[in-house]
């Protein structure tokens, strides 16, 4: 379980953010004393930091510099400042991503998992039932049998695989697809899922994707 450190001085946002992250299966840690934010972050040794720019005592970019001088932990800057200047400054201080408030929670979770994935030292497990998913080629197979997936099918399968055994909502899948510039509608998503099912069945994985009524899909 990845641990996320939340640096946020607004108590309402902090507790809601913690709940959101817990629901998404992350462990969270936070601080209420902003006089030594960087030390608190480093002592907690998190896997990722959500850092607000507007915090008391030091500003977020300064804290980020302090963290960067000792650690390369991934940091996502969060701010209500919608100005390009802040973003450029944050990225140059070594932030991994930059999100503006008010953020869409689904997108925030997506960004977090993307940053965590990028920073993961170990190569990620991209196999399902002995079938290897080659994202670069868009091929799923085990050498003998293989199918090629379209970009949409690949994105959907990757998302289901990353959260194998969990329920992935249609909304989550839509967000992933739209975030990758695939602006498809509800019907198209249904069509893509059934095509993906058919392709999985072709290589011997019948009923790999289960539908949970009114909730979403599960890769079993």
């Amino acid at each position: 379980m990845s641990k996320i450190f939340i640096v946020e001085d607004d108590t309402a946002i902090r507790s809601e953010l913690a709940e959101l992250l817990k629901n998404a299966g992350y462990e969270t840690d936070t601080t209420e004393d902003f006089s030594a934010t960087a030390e608190a972050v480093l002592n907690s040794a998190p896997d990722l930091v959500l850092l607000d720019i507007n915090i008391p005592h030091a500003n977020g970019q300064q804290v980020l510099r302090d963290i960067r001088s000792k650690s390369s932990v991934p940091v996502i800057m969060v701010t209500s400042h919608t100005s390009e200047i802040d973003e450029v400054l944050s990225m140059s201080c070594g932030a991994d991503d930059y999100v503006t408030k008010p953020y869409n929670p689904t997108i925030l979770l997506l960004r977090i998992s993307a940053v965590l994935k990028r920073s993961a030292a170990k190569p990620e497990n991209n196999t399902y039932n002995g079938l290897e998913l080659n994202t670069a080629k868009g091929i799923l197979g085990n050498g003998e049998k293989e199918v090629s997936l379209t970009k949409n099918e690949l994105l959907i399968f990757q998302q289901l695989l990353d959260r194998k055994g969990e329920i992935v909502t249609r909304d989550d899948l839509m967000t992933v697809l739209w975030d990758n510039e695939e602006y498809i509608n509800d019907n198209a998503l249904t069509v893509n899922i059934s095509r993906l099912r058919a392709k999985l069945a072709d290589i011997g994985c019948d009923n790999a994707i289960e539908t949970r009524k009114k909730q979403g899909y599960v890769l079993v």
């Binding site: 607004d10 309402a12 946002i13 809601e16 953010l17 709940e19 959101l20 629901n23 507007n54 209500s80 400042h81 919608t82 100005s83 390009e84 200047i85 973003e87 450029v88 408030k101 008010p102 953020y103 869409n104 929670p105 689904t106 997108i107 839509m174 967000t175 739209w178 975030d179 510039e181 602006y183 509608n185 509800d186």
Partner: protein, 338 residues
């Protein structure tokens, strides 16, 4: 200043001089002064009078002519006092000093207004960042509440959109440079906007297609995001009934510029309204009949585009389509470096 006007102005003084000369002549005659003395006196008086008039005329003429010429030639007429020299006669000096004083006071006045509008803009920026905090926590709360929270999220998004309008209106009206022009991917910008408006787009069954967005342009990413957000909002507002709503976003190279087309198949704009849609507070027929419109959206889009150095134009056929085009210039400096 024409001599005739000058003489007309001095008519009273000349009349008095003539009358006093006449009285003088009467005295001379009464005391039987010799003819040649009175002629000599007349000559002296006449020549002196002429010299006085001409000398005075040319002295004034040079001052007033320089005022008039400078005034005609200046586009910023309040700089007039900088253009003229201090005159050497008393009346002129009074005018000159008054001009300087008036100008100084006007400068102070303008500076005060500039300061207060700057303060106001700064406060708006600050206020926007503050108001976004409760909106952000409400969004998280409604998301954490699951299914029942969705209807709140929609309203919260509306609130957030209105907040952005205020922020960008304040930014577009202000002279301060608070943007960064850098190379920006059109694909990324449109992607952000599309994801942000996904729920609404899907609800309305809008088909989105893109073409040629793998280009980069020189702009401020946040500002362009807001601009495209406005255009997308308009397209969703003016959907035509009876056909599937479509939005097609494409970019092309044209005459050394990158042109972004934002085209929808909505109700279009009446030809009589088309030339005015970017004007402040202009609502037009659609704004009056379809939904309440403030007439600010496209005006802000245009002023932001102008500040960033882009040009924006529109093409539309009523009941068929609307195509908003944004044209981005190329950065010669970057091309030169390559």
């Amino acid at each position: 200043m024409r001599f005739r006007d000058y003489i007309r102005d001095r008519f009273g003084a000349i009349l008095i001089t003539l009358v006093s000369w006449f009285i003088l002549m009467l005295f001379f005659r009464a005391f039987r002064v010799r003819m040649y003395i009175s002629s000599a006196a007349t000559c002296v008086l006449f020549i002196a009078g002429m010299i006085r008039l001409l000398w005075d005329y040319f002295r004034r003429k040079s001052f007033y002519d320089s005022i008039k010429n400078s005034c005609d030639g200046l586009d910023k007429k309040y700089l007039l006092h900088e253009m003229i020299e201090q005159p050497d006669f008393a009346e002129g000096r009074i005018v000159y000093d008054a001009l300087c004083e008036a100008n100084k006071s006007m400068c102070e006045n303008v500076a005060e207004h500039r300061r207060s509008s700057e303060d106001f803009r700064e406060y708006i920026e600050l206020w926007v960042h503050e108001i976004k905090l409760p909106v952000a926590s409400l969004l998280l709360m409604s998301h954490n509440d699951g299914e029942s929270g969705n209807k709140y999220s929609e309203q919260l998004k509306r609130i957030d959109d209105y907040i952005e309008n205020v922020l960008y209106y304040a930014r577009s009206e202000n002279a301060e440079k608070d943007y960064i022009i850098k190379e920006v991917s059109l694909k990324r910008i449109f992607g952000n906007i599309a994801v942000k408006n996904r729920e609404e787009l899907l609800q309305r069954n809008v088909n989105i297609s893109t073409e040629g967005l793998d280009r980069t342009v020189m702009t401020d990413a946040k500002w362009l995001e807001y601009i495209l957000g406005q255009l997308l909002g308009n397209s969703m507002k003016y959907i035509a009934e009876g056909r599937e709503p479509e939005i097609h976003i494409s970019a092309e190279e044209k005459d050394g510029r990158t042109v972004l087309h934002f085209r929808d198949n909505g109700i279009g704009i009446p030809a009589s309204d088309l030339p005015y849609i970017f004007e402040k507070s202009y609502t037009g027929e659609n704004g009056r009949t379809r939904s309440r419109s403030t007439g600010m959206g496209l005006y802000i889009v245009k002023s932001l585009c102008e500040r960033l150095g882009h040009t924006v134009s529109a093409d539309s056929v009523q009941d068929e389509y609307t195509d908003i085009m944004i044209s981005f210039g190329k950065n010669e400096y970057i091309t030169m470096q390559e």
